[in-house]
Amino acid sequence: MSALSQYIELFDSHRDTIEAKSAAILNEYRYDARQSLDGKTLPSKGTEGYEKTSVEDMFLPDFGVNINRVNIPVDVSLSFKCDVPNMSTIMAFVVNDSFVPSSTLHNKMPKGVIIDSLAKMAQENPELVRRYYNTLAHRDNAMVALNTMLVQDGVMIYVPQGVVMERPIQLVNIFNSAASLMGVRRLLIVVEEGAKAQVLVCDHTQNSEYNYLSSQVMEVFVAPNASLDIYDIEESSATTSRHSQLFARQERDSQLLVNGVTLTSGTTRNDYHIDLVGSNCSTTLAGMAIGSGTQHVDNNSSIRHLATHSNSNQLFKYVLDEESTGAFEGAIYVAEGAQFTEAYQSNRNLLASKQARMHTKPQLEIYNDDVKCSHGATTGQLDADALFYMRSRGIPEQEARTMLMQAFMVDVIDMVKMDGLRDRLRHLVEKRFYGQQATCADCGVTCRDAKKD
């Protein structure tokens, strides 16, 4: 049985339950998504765009889906403190794929800002949700359709016109279950005209005895003159896979920063589709992956310049150790008429062991002459001269290697605009290179699997 058919079967036999525990707007798209999956399969290795990542294999294990919305009794606010020192965030939690309601959340927020359950908002404010939900994600994409068919809840973040959020929003995704589980996650972010927000999303796994799969679709709308920063940090476990697709749309004069950091995971595939539909937009897309064990990290970006005077900048860096594998595919598309575009892309990779593998495919697709576009990709090792220099000054080889690897990652970390987060990330990366568990003060959770490898 193919991976897809087991989920289709689940939907066909439990459609009523799925719909009853969700909201009308989410249900509206379900059947069409189901229909579009007929005769389709999930991409496997070798499919164009999926050369090294088999989505089929990711979805193939018989994951449970919590269609009955059974609550897993976790008091997240007590047991979990994803602590970022010197940074005060508005924190919201998602356990598996359910939004955890909080009574204190709303007191902290500026007027009109919404951070809430997508299903709840779909009931309370249907016009707002309908305007955005499932309008941006590529519906003909099988993984989007699969998500749309099964999703019952998600998170909606809405920042109204002109509101400048002083404090960052932090969304903590936690996997914790007593059986292998697929979390069907959905995130809808709308930043209205002239508004400004920073969103920090982090993925964790609490109970890494079981296998988890996160199937995530994010839709991001950035209105004219708005500014949005998204930091997406994955620090789960070797038993957790993640298939995440981000679809963003930028209107004129807007700014978007997306920084995806993959520290610990099993198999990760991140898609970034960013459309610059208005002129004078600015986009920064950065990514970083540190791989060890048999970890596999695949980032796939597609930035489409559809209007004039926009610029985009992409930087992806990988350090791959042990038997880990990495893949990167990035496309810059400049449409006919999108004059005065500046688009840059860079992918740099370090292979730290014999068995590590890297696959890179940067692409430029340009239908216009007045552009400045470039991309660069390198794959190599640590600079032998630098290593020798350090060792000749008494730094042990392992230490020197770690320092150089850390230094290699600095420019991605420096793209983080929040001071507190940047320091924290630097610390996490350092710990990661030393193979240590990254735990926060007072936190009852071990983010990394103690029995690693």
Binding site: L351, N368, V371, G376, A377, G380
Partner: protein
């Protein structure tokens, strides 16, 4: 015409004007030679394959090879992955064999059809005796049948074999048998299978051990008869310590319908040998609305089998309506070197999807890729390349640079590099840029009294220089001219 126009308007042409002028440029090789041709009816089936083999008087083993390829071809589908808009090709509407009619085979040079000689004179090929002094050995292939090879005797003294493919099959069956299909198997791809089934002729080169070929070897390909396809095969073998530089030129007459060209080039490079393969491809590109032109679907691959062997591809691609071509190097000998230098120019409605593959399977192998794309008019120009480092290939090095220059706002330039590194000691670099000729550069030239049109020519030439420098002298001059004809119209 340009001059008078300028006088009338008293205006310095802008960039766009110059680019518009391009459409007025003519394809100077667009003549048809009225020559008796032996064409078999259109269509393709096993009988046609047998007929071709029979017409060429081939041995049994070659017919078997053809039939195997043909049967495999039937199971394949037309590849669609390239960034090309290829109209559906009716493979049954093509004649798979067209040869200048032989009157009992010319025994001496005088017996060669004068019309034919005239054609080659027009092309400026030093085929005639008087041009022997120019010191180039030429194998001219017209409608895929080799017509005449010059300098054969002189080469034979050194033990070099340079002849048409059919002669090689007749005279050196063991060599052909050993190497045919060893680099490009008939199972390789759709067009390779087609070629393996119906190839009519081509060139065969064998350089024995330790021989440094004293002259450039050259082949000129020309499609003449209408409604035919050209399917030639080139096989080059450089034995230990040998060296050869090989040139290939292509032209075709102007026709309204599209012509298919599906060739295979196989190169085998043994220990410490070096092969330099240069192409100036100027097939008819179609008119400015994209009518007619040659479909150029070519499989070229070299196997650097020996240690410290070297293969260098240089290509200047200015012609063809559609180009689908990826000259590759398989670097399996330790310390082997692969090089790829390319200038691809597209104009009007031309489409090109071209690049290279560098497959590193030997230790300490090195490769360099320099690709320069120039697109103008409504054309689409893509670079597609693969750099692969195998798990056991320690110490490999690759440097890739692909630049695109856009002239005009309706054309497209695309880059699709695939980089696959399976070894941690490899250093692989890829760089690509896309830009247009900047106002600053033009302004700088104008300031110094260089008119805009000349400035564009100057900048384009400078841009392509890195690759042009790699061409042998004889070709460099021609290629430079071609570049100007193709791009700059009345300029230059």
């Amino acid at each position: 015409m340009k001059e008078s126009e300028k006088d009338k308007n008293k205006k310095i042409p802008t960039n766009d004007d110059i680019i518009n002028d391009v459409t007025t440029s003519e394809y100077k090789y667009g003549f048809v030679t009225d020559i008796d041709t032996d064409i078999i009816p259109q269509g393709l089936n096993e009988d046609v394959v047998r007929l071709i083999s029979q017409k060429k008087g081939e041995p049994e083993w070659l017919l078997d090879f053809r039939l195997k390829a043909f049967r495999h071809w039937l199971t394949l589908e037309v590849p669609t992955w390239a960034h090309l808009d290829i109209p559906e090709i009716d493979f049954q509407a093509i004649s798979y064999y067209a040869a200048p009619k032989k009157k009992e085979g010319p025994k001496s040079f005088d017996e060669v059809d004068p019309e034919l000689l005239d054609t080659f004179n027009k092309l400026g090929i030093p085929l005639e005796e008087q041009k022997v002094l120019s010191g180039m050995a030429v194998d001219a292939v017209m409608d895929s049948v080799s017509v005449k090879t010059t300098h054969k005797e002189k080469l034979a003294e050194l033990g070099i074999i340079f002849c048409s493919f059919s002669e090689a099959v007749r005279d050196y069956p063991d060599l052909v048998k050993r190497y045919l299909g060893s680099v490009v198997s008939y199972r390789d791809n759709f067009y390779a299978a087609l070629n393996s089934a119906v190839f009519s002729d081509g060139s065969f080169v064998y350089i024995p051990k330790g021989v440094h070929c004293p002259m450039e070897l050259s082949t000129y390909f020309r499609i003449n008869a209408s409604g035919t396809g050209q399917f030639e095969r080139t096989l080059i073998v450089a034995d230990d310590d040998a060296y050869v530089s090989y040139l290939e030129g292509c032209t075709a007459p102007m026709r309204d319908e599209n012509q298919l060209h599906a060739a295979i080039v196989e190169i085998i490079v043994e220990d410490r040998a070096e092969v330099k393969y240069s192409t100036v491809q100027n097939w008819y590109a179609g008119d400015k609305d994209g009518r007619g032109g040659v479909y150029n679907f070519v499989t070229k691959r070299g196997l650097c089998r020996g240690d410290n062997s070297k293969l260098s591809w240089t290509q200047v691609e200015t012609g063809s309506a559609i180009t689908w071509k990826y000259p590759s190097c398989v670097l399996s000998g330790d310390g082997a070197v692969g090089e790829f230098y390319s200038v691809a120019v597209t104009n009007n409605r031309q489409q090109a999807d071209t690049g290279t593959k560098m497959i590193h399977t030997g230790r300490n192998t090195r490769s360099t890729i320099v690709s320069k794309g120039i697109s103008a008019g409504y054309s689409q120009n893509s670079y597609r390349g693969l750099v692969k480092v195998a798990p056991n290939a320690d110490g490999c090095r690759n440097y890739t640079q692909c630049d695109s220059l856009l002239l005009g706002s309706h054309c497209g330039a695309h880059t699709f590099p695939y980089i696959d590194v399976l070894n941690d000691t490899a250093v692989v670099e890829h760089e690509a840029t896309t830009s247009k000729i900047s106002e600053d550069q033009i302004f700088y030239c104008n300031q110094r009294g260089i008119p805009t049109e000349e400035a564009v020519a100057l900048i384009v030439n400078g841009y392509a220089k890195e690759v042009m420098n790699k061409l042998p002298m004889e070709f460099a001059v021609e290629a430079q001219k071609l570049l100007q004809i193709t791009l700059e119209g009345s300029v230059g």
